[in-house]
Amino acid sequence: MSGDASRSDGADRPIVVDGLTKEFGSVVANDDVSFAVNEGEVFGFLGPNGAGKSTTIRLLLGLLKPTSGTARVLGADIRDEAALTGVKRRIGYLPAHLGFADAATGEAVLDYHGAMKGEERREELLELFTPPIERPIRDYSTGNRRMLGLVQAFMHDPDLVIMDEPTAGLDPLKQEAFNEFVRAERDRGTTVFFSSHVLSEVRRVCDRVGILRGGSLVELENVDALLHRGGKHVRVHASDAAIAAITDLDGVVDPERFAEGAQFIYAGDVNALLRELAAHDVRDVEVGEPPIEDVFAHYYGSEGTAGGANATDAAWNGSSGATDAGGEAADRATDAGGEAADDDGAATDDGPGATNV
């Protein structure tokens, strides 16, 4: 696949989005979105809930008709149904919500999907993801549904896989298996495009990232750049004196005091934070992923425009040089706390995120 020279030139990349706009009445769900996904890369489509990620994905699959602009998927214009249908055999799709027929067993669903598009990798995938295929789907947990969805998305060995929030509902172990699987698929030459509102997930598996906010693409960058911009959400319970010293650290943004301690976003060197914490009598501490909406608010302003970014950018990046070295370590140190914080993120996203679209 990667040796196919005819498709490696710029114009024929697996996904080329060009000025894609979708309006639902007066709501602009996608506003002049343009980007391209390279062959054989994992592209993360990051944004808070309600940013318009699903709209872009549904446009790419021809489920929605663009208001203006267009996109090419495996060379097919999304406005041309015949062309798009022609390449769908080479596309795998995992929607955000898996509306399988409830009364059918997982096996019956896979038989049908297999008959429609192929199933050469079905058995192999069922060893990796293990939905109880002999049971009717109405008995499935969210995680089992998701795994069945992953099997159907990959079982016909597609060249391009498009996934909408693929790890929502997977337990942490399955999430890790999924990340590993996606990297292995990329190494076989499959192009993967997926959306997520979880920063840490995108960081772990993606080669490049597009950030969507309020329907507009605000940033397109490789994952290293994103990594440096990280930041941790820290919540400390300690005495007032200790809190004062800790929140005085370089890289502390937006400290918020409460009765027993404080919470803040920390964008500095993680070792400095740990040393400072160790120097005080800390009753409790949580370090995790910041809610994605907070991160975006800091980078791109609260209105979702790239223009508003500069003012807060400086404060946020005050010690970005120092974070370079600590980035990886910080990631590992907080992996355990990451899950709890991700849940946090999802909860807060419903607030400000939902108002965007």
Partner: protein, 261 residues
Amino acid sequence: MFETARYEGRRRLRGAAILTAGVAAYAGFIVWYFTVLEGVDYEDVFEDLPPAMLEAFGIQNLSTIEGFLGAQLFSFVWLLGLGLYFAYVAGGVVARDVETERMDLLLSFPVTRSRLLVEKFAALLVPMVAVNAFGGLIIYLLVLAIGERIAVDHLFLTHLLSVPFLLVCAGVGLAFSVAVDRAAIAERAAVGTVFVLYLVESVVGGAEGYDWIQYLSPTQYYEPTPILIDGSFEPIDSVILLVAFAGLLILSQALFERRDI
């Protein structure tokens, strides 16, 4: 080829069996009722009824098994019951999948929307054929069981000619199904429309000056009682129904092609 029609058709088997059993049970009751009423002079009973009512309920030659079945079973179950049933079921064909987001998965298949729509609709032929084939056979056996006779060719024609009528009712449901996002709304709108058309034909149709309105209703073009009694029917009626069905199918395809999912 036709994987979707096969898969969706299999999902309709259970519903088809229940429908056929229900219709057979009702037919059993009607046939038994005929034996109870034997010897009653119907013509006297109904002679005072207004002609519009006789027309509406397909009442004709009630003292014969053909006339009795035509009025009590076919005019009621086939014309109204099954008409509403297929309108209702077809109303869910697309709208339910859109509502549950199953349509996202179906449209990720390498198949065009119009083809998917036709195959999903074709699965409705499973209950439609089952209720006519098995229902017809059961009615025939029931009639024999009470020692009456019924012309096989007339019975066959009555069932066969009901198919274009039922297709139109299902076509109404399909059009609503692609036009709206929620299954419950499509189903109710389809049932409501077919029922209003039935009323229009049977009630308003007789009124002077408004008799043109009855030609809008599919029930105008399928009259089971005369077919059952003497095998008489107008071929043009079936042609009109098939043309109307084709129109509804093309309309549904056009709407489905253009809509956002």
